[in-house]
């Protein structure tokens, strides 16, 4: 599937630079966090009320802050100290920030991987057919693609969610289901609509890449030969054209995971994702408490940054080694 030359490029890139290694380590840690969330979390991330006796959230370990509380009809300044019980403090309604960080990785990774996978499944066949048949078919399909591209992905995603609402469904968590861990959520909420919507707004990039590859091999000798031997178009598409486009698709998919993670977090931040256990949602929670409780929005943001850096580093490595000419949509949204 990946030719030897590319494989040695990959090896060389990995050996020579620190960045791919860093990316791999980062991504592995985040994936471990996501998979073993119930083990790593110190508290149930949805449980509220971890507040001090005055109803103030705890700050991260080693820090403290002053706030005013009403006492006997007067405002009094108090100092809120951190507690070793809550490593990264608690949020405004007293949920453990560290545990939410760990669980947030699940949502990000699930949506990132599933959303990108779905986009590949829609985009690649579309692009292959378009590029392979060419002519009118290609024209029509490319106009559709152009139309999709005319929507900023965040805007289209918002419109789709505006129409269909945001539904999620729970995926049972084996670790808690089988009683291995106590006191953690029984299932993880997968924001289903968001996953689908994210795929619907990003598949076009895969279609473009697949189309380019299909066009470049359409007239190659081995394809002509296969055709002359009576292979059907579908056989040719799947046996010859598809494998050829896999390398650039893999590279693009990696880059797109980063974009999808950012898109998901944006939607969650705006409150359209349908789950409340997400980094983006937590950032929006902290928005109103910046003045005192800065960590509520800072911590999940760092989660996003590290996840996206990890994926981007791997993406750069793959792109440099495999294929330098790939455009995808960034995730600045």
């Amino acid at each position: 599937m990946i030719p030897d030359r590319l494989e040695s490029n990959l090896r060389q890139g990995f050996r020579e630079s620190l960045l791919p290694k860093l990316g791999l380590v980062l991504l592995a840690s985040i994936l471990i966090m996501a998979i073993f969330a119930p083990v790593l979390a110190t508290h149930n991330p949805t449980r509220t009320g971890y507040l001090d006796e005055n109803g103030n959230s705890y700050p991260p370990l080693g820090t403290s802050y002053t706030t005013e509380i009403g006492q006997d009809g007067e405002f009094v300044e108090v100092e809120v100290e951190s507690t070793s019980d809550h490593l990264l403090g608690t949020n405004d309604i007293g949920q453990d920030v560290f545990s939410r960080l760990v669980y947030g990785a699940r949502t990000s990774m699930l949506v990132g991987l599933l959303g990108t996978g779905l986009a590949v499944l829609i985009g690649v066949p579309f692009g292959l057919i378009s590029g392979y048949y060419g002519g009118r078919v290609d024209d029509a399909m490319m106009r559709i693609a152009d139309t999709m591209l005319a929507f900023p992905s965040l805007v289209l995603a918002l419109a789709l969610i505006g129409v269909f609402g945001s539904a999620g469904f729970g995926i049972p968590d084996p670790l808690t289901r089988f009683g291995l861990i106590d006191g953690m959520p029984e299932s993880t909420m997968l924001p289903g609509t968001v996953t689908v919507v994210v795929a619907l707004v990003t598949w076009v990039w895969f279609a473009r890449v697949a189309r380019g590859e299909a066009m470049s091999v359409r007239n190659e000798e081995y394809v002509t030969a296969a055709r002359s031997m009576g292979a059907s178009n579908w056989t040719i598409l799947f046996k010859h054209v598809l494998p050829n486009s896999l390398t650039p698709v893999i590279v693009l998919a990696t880059i797109q995971v980063a974009a999808v993670i950012l898109l998901e977090s944006s939607l969650s931040f705006l409150g359209f994702s349908g789950t409340t256990l997400s980094w983006g949602y937590d950032i929006s929670r902290g928005q109103g408490y910046q003045r005192t409780s800065w960590w509520i929005s800072m911590v999940p943001g760092l989660g996003i940054v590290f996840a996206v850096i990890a994926v981007n580093l791997l993406g750069d490595w793959l792109r440099d080694a495999l294929d330098p000419n790939i455009e995808g949509e960034g995730g600045g949204a």
């Binding site: 139309t147 005319a150 992905s153 980063a258 943001g301 996206v308 850096i309 600045g332």
Partner: protein, 338 residues
């Protein structure tokens, strides 16, 4: 093919795309669950009133009639009336355009002014500290969600540094909705000679513009760096060196110019990201632009307003892309010849 013909072709394609966008928006509304009349008058309203409303908004017509009406309206610039406020959508869109444009343009300027030199330095000093710094910056820049960056900037400048800045610099970056637009500020300056409004505007737009511009700065830095390194490896650079012309000319007139040509197209494609970024930046900074209004419309399920804004954004996107293509065609002589 002449540039004129090339542009006509792109314009026709643009019209098709816009028609597609309009149709998709209509289709979305048609399949959207729930009775739109409910949104206007509320579910508890008198059935008679509801019927009246349905009549008034043309909701009783067969679907294709609604479609034709709708397309007709869009073409003539009549986007209908907002469900919520009953104002004309066209006005509601247009009054928000300047703020978004200000933000987008400011962010683009910041991005280009910082990124191109940074990319050039990075490419000319490969594997030196300056290059590592620029690379790290651009990696962080493309990996940071801008709403979070915005919040962190607010935290830093408008919360932590507000008092020190006021004390030592005499100004700070204000939190809260902007008080004056660029246009008004300039008019004030020209008519009365009072520059204070313009300064206020600058203070208000600084943080949002940095927030929106960071991703683009990072991306253009990367593209410039890798593009220039690629370009420096091309044989014509050696041939140009052999002529003995000054090095600045080789670096800028030849290499940088050729590097920017493909970057311009990539930026055209990334415009969607800029607009998406503007929507969310406006939300974070309470910036009175289109994005801010779009989120309001979505929350209120105000269909006509939402459609109007989205179609308008798509229109802008298509037009800017055509402009980018035209620029590309003038810069790269090979395009129109293909």
């Amino acid at each position: 093919m002449s540039i004129g013909k090339f542009l006509v072709k792109r314009l026709l394609q643009g019209v098709l795309v816009i028609w597609g966008v309009i149709t998709i928006m209509f289709a979305l509304r048609a399949v959207s669950p729930g009775d739109p009349a409910n949104l206007i008058v509320g579910p508890a309203a008198d059935p008679e009133i509801r019927d009246q409303v349905r009549e008034q908004y043309g909701l009783n017509e067969p679907i294709y009639v609604q479609y034709v009406d709708y397309v007709q309206g869009m073409v003539t610039g009549d986007f209908g009336y907002s469900f919520q406020s009953s104002r004309e959508v066209t006005t509601m869109v247009l009054e928000r355009v300047p703020a978004t444009l200000e933000l987008a343009i400011a962010a683009t300027i910041i991005a280009v002014v910082i990124a191109v030199p940074l990319g050039v330095i990075s490419a000319s000093r490969r594997n030196e500290p300056a290059d590592y710094g620029a690379t790290l910056f651009s990696l962080l820049g493309i990996s940071t969600p801008n709403f979070w960056l915005g919040l962190m900037l607010i935290l830093l400048f408008a919360v932590f540094l507000q008092d020190p800045m006021e004390t030592y610099l005499g100004f700070s970056f204000p939190q809260g909705r902007r008080t004056v637009g660029f246009g008004e500020a300039v008019i004030t300056l020209v008519t009365t000679g009072y520059a204070g409004d313009l300064l206020t505007w600058v203070r208000h737009i600084t943080l949002p513009a940095i927030t929106l511009g960071t991703y683009f700065t990072a991306m253009i830095t990367r593209l410039t760096r890798s593009g220039m390194i690629d370009e420096f490896g091309k044989p014509y650079v050696t041939a140009t060196e052999a002529k003995g012309i000054p090095y600045v000319l080789i670096r800028y007139k030849h290499v940088l110019r050729n590097t920017m040509i493909p970057i311009i197209t990539v930026l055209g494609l990334q415009l969607g990201t800029l607009i998406g970024g503007a929507v969310i930046t406006e939300t974070v900074f309470n910036w009175p632009g289109l994005g801010d209004r779009l989120i309001q419309a979505l929350n209120a399920r105000d269909w006509p307003l939402m459609q109007g804004i989205i179609v308008f954004i798509a229109l802008g996107f298509v037009l800017i892309n055509i402009a980018v293509d035209a620029l590309y065609a003038t810069l790269d002589p090979r395009v129109t010849n293909e």
